[in-house]
C-alpha cells in the first residue's frame, strides 16, 4: 500500500525541490453540461488568497493585498494591469493599487465586506488574475468556489426538514449575502495587460462552498490530496494568526471531525497599526502598513527604504503581546498545536524560542505551517475540501 503524504508535505517537498507542487487530482468538476474549474478563496482582511489547479494538477496560488484604487490613465511608459468589472470604471488591485496610494477595503464579517462593490470587484479581478497565471485562456469559465469564511460564521443551524436536528452550518446572515452576491453570479471582467492588450473574461460562480477558514489548514495538515486522513493526532488546537483576527480552533479529528472556535483578539493588524505610528506623516492605510510589515520596505520620498528597525520594534512590542495571548494555548499538553495564518511569516522567529522555553518539541507537541506557505494554506485547503465535496456529490 503506498504511503500517503499530507497536502502540506507535498507542498514542502515541491518547494524544497524548487518546483511548483503538482497533484494527481482533477482540476474541474462537472456541473450540468459544463466543466467547473475548482478554486479555493481565502478572502482575508489583509489580502485575498486564491488557489487553482492547472489541468495537469499544478497548483497556482496568488496573494493579492486587499487594496483598491480607480485606475488612472498612464500617459507615459509602461501601463499597469487594470480591470473593469461589469462595465464599472477600471481599477487597480493589490500591489499595483498600493503603489498608487490605494484604499483599504472593509474588514469584518462577510456580510459587511461583500456588500461593498469594490470588494466584489477585487474578488472578480483576483479570480481572473489566478486563472490567467494558471494558463487558462480568456473567455467563459464556470467556477466552483471553495470559500474560506471566518470561523465565527459557522454556527449551529437547524435543518429544513421537520425531523432534522441541529448541525453546524453557515450563519444565516452570511448565507443570505453569499447567495445574493456570489452564488450563480456572472461577472464580466476586462483585463487590460501591462502591454495594453485587453482580454475579456466571463466568470460564472455556479457553486459556492463556504467553509470555516481553519478548515483549510486542517485539511492541508491532516489529509492527503486524495482526501485520505494521514495523521495519528486525535485532537488539535489550530492557532490562526490572521490579518484581522487571532483565533484558536479546537478540532477533534478522531473518530469524527468536530470543531469549536474562540477569538483571542486582533491579528497582525495590531502590529501594522503600531507600525503606522512610526510613520505619522505617511498616512499609511491599514493594508499598506500590513504590506510594509511583510516586505519590510516603504516608499519614502520616492525611494524604497528598508524599515527593518521599525518592524523589529513593533514586533518586539505588539508581536510579543500577540504571542502572549497565544501562550495559554501552547502551554496545554492535551492537544497537538498547529500554528497557521499569514502572521506566521512575521512571528515565527519570535515564536520558536518561546516554544522551546516551554519545553515543547516541534513535530511532536506543536508545529508551524512553514512561513513560505502559511499565508496561502487556507485557500489551498478549501480548494481540496471543495474537491472532496464535489467528488462525493458526483458519486451520490
Amino acid at each position: 500500500m503506498p504511503r500517503h503524504h499530507t497536502i502540506v508535505q507535498e507542498l514542502l517537498t515541491a518547494a524544497a525541490a524548487g518546483v511548483p507542487a503538482r497533484f494527481a487530482v482533477r482540476s474541474t468538476v462537472r456541473i450540468g453540461r459544463q466543466q467547473g474549474v475548482l478554486i479555493g478563496v481565502d478572502n482575508g482582511n489583509d489580502a485575498l488568497k486564491i488557489a487553482v489547479l492547472r489541468p495537469d494538477g499544478t497548483l497556482i496560488t496568488r496573494r493579492i493585498p486587499a487594496a483598491y484604487r480607480a485606475a488612472a490613465l498612464i500617459r507615459g511608459g509602461a501601463s499597469e494591469v487594470s480591470y473593469r468589472v461589469d462595465g464599472a470604471p477600471g481599477c487597480w488591485i493589490g500591489e499595483t493599487a498600493l503603489r498608487h496610494d490605494g484604499d483599504d477595503l472593509p474588514i469584518g464579517p462577510t456580510r459587511q465586506r461583500l456588500t461593498d462593490p469594490r470588494l466584489r470587484h477585487l474578488l472578480a479581478a483576483g479570480l481572473v488574475e489566478v486563472l490567467h497565471a494558471a494558463g487558462y485562456a480568456p473567455g467563459s469559465h464556470t467556477l466552483v468556489l471553495g470559500l474560506a469564511i471566518p470561523n465565527t460564521e459557522i454556527v449551529p443551524v437547524r435543518g429544513a426538514g421537520a425531523d432534522e436536528g441541529e448541525r453546524l452550518g453557515v450563519d444565516p446572515e452570511t448565507r443570505q449575502v453569499l447567495e445574493q452576491h456570489l452564488t450563480g453570479v456572472t461577472w464580466s471582467v476586462e483585463r487590460l495587460g501591462a502591454d495594453g492588450d485587453g482580454t475579456a473574461w466571463q466568470l460564472r460562480l455556479a457553486t459556492v462552498l463556504p467553509q470555516a477558514q481553519t478548515t483549510g489548514t486542517l485539511v492541508a495538515v491532516t489529509k492527503a490530496p486524495t482526501g485520505t486522513t494521514v495523521t495519528d493526532v486525535e485532537e488539535m488546537d489550530i492557532v490562526d494568526i490572521g490579518g484581522g483576527d487571532l483565533q484558536v480552533t479546537t478540532v477533534q479529528i478522531q473518530p469524527t471531525y468536530r470543531m469549536t472556535t474562540r477569538r483571542l483578539g486582533d491579528g497582525t493588524i495590531r502590529i501594522a497599526r503600531a507600525l503606522k505610528e512610526h510613520f505619522p506623516r505617511h498616512e499609511l492605510t491599514d493594508v499598506a502598513a500590513q504590506h510594509a510589515l511583510i516586505t519590510r520596505r516603504l516608499l519614502v520620498s520616492g525611494r524604497q527604504r528598508p524599515i527593518d528597525a521599525e518592524v523589529a520594534a513593533v514586533l518586539n512590542s505588539q508581536g510579543q503581546a500577540l504571542i502572549g495571548a497565544v501562550l495559554p494555548v501552547l502551554r496545554q499538553s492535551r492537544r497537538f498545536v498547529m500554528i497557521t495564518g499569514g502572521g506566521v511569516i512575521l512571528l515565527h522567529d519570535l515564536l520558536q524560542p518561546r516554544l522551546e522555553a516551554e519545553l515543547k518539541r516541534r513535530g511532536e507537541d506543536y508545529d508551524f505551517i512553514h512561513h513560505g506557505i502559511a499565508s496561502e494554506i487556507n485557500s489551498i485547503g478549501v480548494l481540496f475540501a471543495a474537491l472532496f465535496r464535489a467528488a462525493a456529490a458526483t458519486r451520490s
Binding site: 489541468p55 495537469d56 448565507r175 460564472r204 486524495t226 475540501a385 456529490a393
Partner: protein
C-alpha cells in the same frame, strides 16, 4: 434509399491528409481514414446545399428547405458557442458559459487518483455548506 456506392478518386496533399489524421481521434464514429473522409465530405455537402438554398438555388431533390435546415442546424450549433467566445458573433450578445478553455500545454495529469469516498463525510462535522448548483 439506394445504398450502392460509386468509387471516386480524390487527390489530397500531404498537409490536407495530416489535417484529417489529426481529427481522427475526435471523430470516433469514423472508424477508418476513408470513413472520416466520407463524413467530412457529407458534412461539407450539407453546408454547400444550405448555402445554395439560402442563395435561392433550391434544395436537393426529395428534400424540403426545412429538411435542409434541420440537417445543418446541429452542425452550426456546435460551433456557435465557440465563435461567440471569440467575439465573432457580437449580434448574439455575451457568450454563454462553456467548457473552460485550457492552455495548449495543459494536459490532464496522466495518473489521476481517486478521491477517498470518506473525505467529504469527515468535513460534514466542520460545518461547510454547498450553495448553488450541485456538481453531478
Amino acid at each position: 434509399m439506394r445504398r450502392a456506392t460509386t468509387p471516386k478518386s480524390l487527390r489530397l496533399s500531404a498537409d490536407e491528409l495530416a489535417r484529417f489524421a489529426r481529427l481522427q481521434r475526435y471523430v470516433p464514429e469514423a472508424t477508418s481514414e476513408s470513413a472520416l473522409l466520407k463524413l467530412a465530405a457529407l458534412r461539407g455537402l450539407a453546408l454547400l446545399e444550405a448555402e445554395v438554398a439560402g442563395a435561392g438555388g433550391g434544395v436537393p431533390p426529395g428534400m424540403t428547405e426545412e429538411e435542409v435546415a434541420s440537417v445543418i442546424l446541429p452542425r452550426i450549433l456546435t460551433v456557435v458557442t465557440w465563435l461567440a467566445r471569440r467575439g465573432r458573433l457580437p449580434m448574439l450578445g455575451p457568450a454563454p458559459a462553456a467548457r473552460p478553455e485550457l492552455a495548449p500545454d495543459a494536459e490532464e495529469h496522466p495518473a489521476l487518483a481517486a478521491i477517498d469516498p470518506t473525505a467529504a463525510a469527515d468535513l460534514d462535522g466542520l460545518g461547510g455548506d454547498l450553495l448553488g448548483a450541485w456538481p453531478d
